[in-house]
Amino acid sequence: MTRLLRWETVLIGLCVVVLGYGTIGVDGFGEAAHISFLLLDYTEVALLAFALLPIVLTGQIDLSVASVLGFCSALTGKLWDGGMSFETIVPIVLVAGVVLGAVNAVLIVRFGLPALAVTIGTLGLYRGLAYVVLGDGAVTGFPENYRPLATDAIAGTFVPYVTVLVVLVGVAMAVLVHQSTVGRALYAIGLGEQTARFSGVRVRPIMMSLYLLSGVLAALASLVYTLRYNSARADNANGLELVAVAAVLLGGVSIFGGRGTVLGVAAALLAMAGLRNVLFLGDVSDEIQNVITGALLIISVLVPVAVAAVTRRKARSHLRRTDEVPLR
């Protein structure tokens, strides 16, 4: 536990450094408009990252999230273009997200297929279906009364409306993962699935619901994305799954499962968004940002390994000697 807290502290430190440097050193960073922009920029990534968190905690993964977003966006565009009212589109799109998540759930949990391979498959399948639905073009002209919800900040503040959504989702996820019985089950499954099963934890239903939840959150993210950019395209959010995974891993969540916090992921998202905007304002190219993101990702997994090695050396002298006689 203490090891984790240390990484979260590093992350928060990183946030402070980035945001501090931004405010002081970069012109315009501290302005309300730019803070809004900063928060808006990573809205969809944040939703996808929160969707991924519980799945990664159980030792699985879902690389299809951005493709679900893409499909839902394409579906939104197709239906809107066909004249359907936006109010009707929203629930349809959310249901589509659930269905796509259910496909993952059945293949991975019910049939026991490896999550990495399956979600690489559905990543392609869903993105492909997005093209089938909408083709190469784009649909624009989404309702004027809803668009500001996705692009604007609450009057008089720098807080965008959608940031409130992200915070709500984040808080709900935090309660689920850290306070609820389901959350306890997640960590148990991630660290010892067999024992969890033997202890009466309902492993399968829980894991299936996580994929359904991921689908819904991706669908939600697609609505935000489509409104924010006022554009529905089959290639929307192409590649965004890697950014979301990077945020989750950078947030200290172990790819093997059983370790990680919502706070860590939130801090990572903030740090990444801040960094991106500092560099953007400093006229540094996208590419350097990518290099830094990648480097941070690698560092994020190197640090626990280094810390563990040091801890193990210390613990060996403190560890209570076992009176268990080893069987050979």
Binding site: Y126, R127, G128, Y131, V132, D286
Partner: protein, 332 residues
């Protein structure tokens, strides 16, 4: 374990045959000499990547940075020609292999020595290498290198053929033969399977895991580097986005080819066949009148089908084993 891969390879060949025959009926030029020539050519580059990726997946690792490494080495090829348009082809290829090996070594060092999960590391290097690629392009202000800037020798190498077989396919086949033999004929190769099958047992058996995994990353990197250089030779146009997104196509090819994502089983022959199958389907779709839109969906569906089929076979094998045990018991 032999029966499963052999069966899988036959299934892929059968599927290939079906696709080719069906498409050939609709559009006979698909199966003409030129058509088949193009099929093999298209698959050659990704086949190289697939061979390398197989080495890694066998050991329970993965390399998501292959697209970025490929882009980097393709770009290097372009830069070499800008420096000297008559750079010998062999030098360009060697440079690509070298740079690819260096990138592979970086990945390998992080995974094998620091014992950091490959998925995360290569996700990180995916970003870092791509970023370096773009940064290089920006700093030299070379966003694109075109065919006319390269040596004609290089380009004819890329699109040329020997006895009707494309040069690139010959290279791919040669690499396939060497790697396939090494995996079974050399102890180091067989140890890769052991590492992926049961890492703890492998360690206890004294297999130098760090060295083997590192080696696998270097070799895979070198092959990716070769892939990037040959991509430049074939396409003739290079920019800093070459290879973006290839990593998922490579993993798909490898899985379709029967290499278990959990490691420990699968063959490079299968992986190359998987790559060939997926590329063929991609080429066949427009010929069959299926809009190109369906391409990615079909690829994804093929991958899902492949892993489901694998699992079905495994389940049936397990049931048969249990039934045999039972009959032994009740026969007593």
């Amino acid at each position: 374990m032999r029966t499963l891969p052999a069966g899988r390879e036959m299934t892929i060949v059968a599927a290939l045959a079906v696709v080719v025959v069906v498409t050939g009926i609709v559009h006979p030029s698909f199966v003409s000499g030129q058509g088949l020539h193009d099929l093999f050519l298209n698959a050659s580059i990704i086949a190289l990547l697939a061979v390398g990726q197989t080495l890694l997946v066998i050991t329970r690792n993965i390399d998501l940075s292959v697209g970025s490494v490929m882009g980097l080495t393709a770009y290097l090829s372009g830069q070499l020609f800008l420096a000297d348009q008559n750079t010998p082809t062999i030098l360009v290829l060697a440079a690509g292999i070298g740079l690819g090996a260096v990138c592979g070594a970086i990945n390998g060092a992080l995974v094998a020595i620091a014992k950091v999960p490959a998925l995360v590391v290569t996700l990180g290097t995916l970003y870092v290498f791509r970023g370096i690629n773009h940064a290089w392009a920006s700093s030299t202000d070379v966003q694109q290198v075109n065919a006319y800037q390269m040596s004609p020798d290089f380009l004819s190498f890329g699109s040329g053929s020997v006895l009707g077989i494309p040069n690139l396919s010959l290279i791919a086949l040669a690499v396939l033969a060497v790697v396939a033999y090494s995996l079974h004929g050399y102890r180091a190769g067989r140890e890769l399977y052991a590492i992926g099958s049961n890492p703890d047992a492998a360690r206890l058996a004294g297999i130098p895991m760090g060295r083997r995994v590192f080696g696998a990353f270097v070799i895979s990197g070198a092959l990716v580097g070769l892939g990037g250089a040959t991509h430049a030779a074939y396409f003739g146009t290079i920019n800093a986005s070459v290879g973006t997104g290839r990593e998922l196509a490579v993993v798909a090819a490898v899985v379709v080819g029967g290499v278990a994502i959990f490691g420990g089983s699968g063959t490079v022959v299968g992986a190359v066949l998987g790559a060939l199958l997926l590329t063929t389907i991609t080429s066949a779709l427009p010929v069959l009148g299926v809009p190109a839109f369906w391409q990615r969906a079909v690829d994804g569906a093929a991958l899902l089908l492949a892993i489901s089929a694998d699992r079905a076979v495994l389940v049936r094998m397990a049931a048969r084993l249990r039934a045999r045990q039972h009959s032994i018991r009740s026969g007593r």
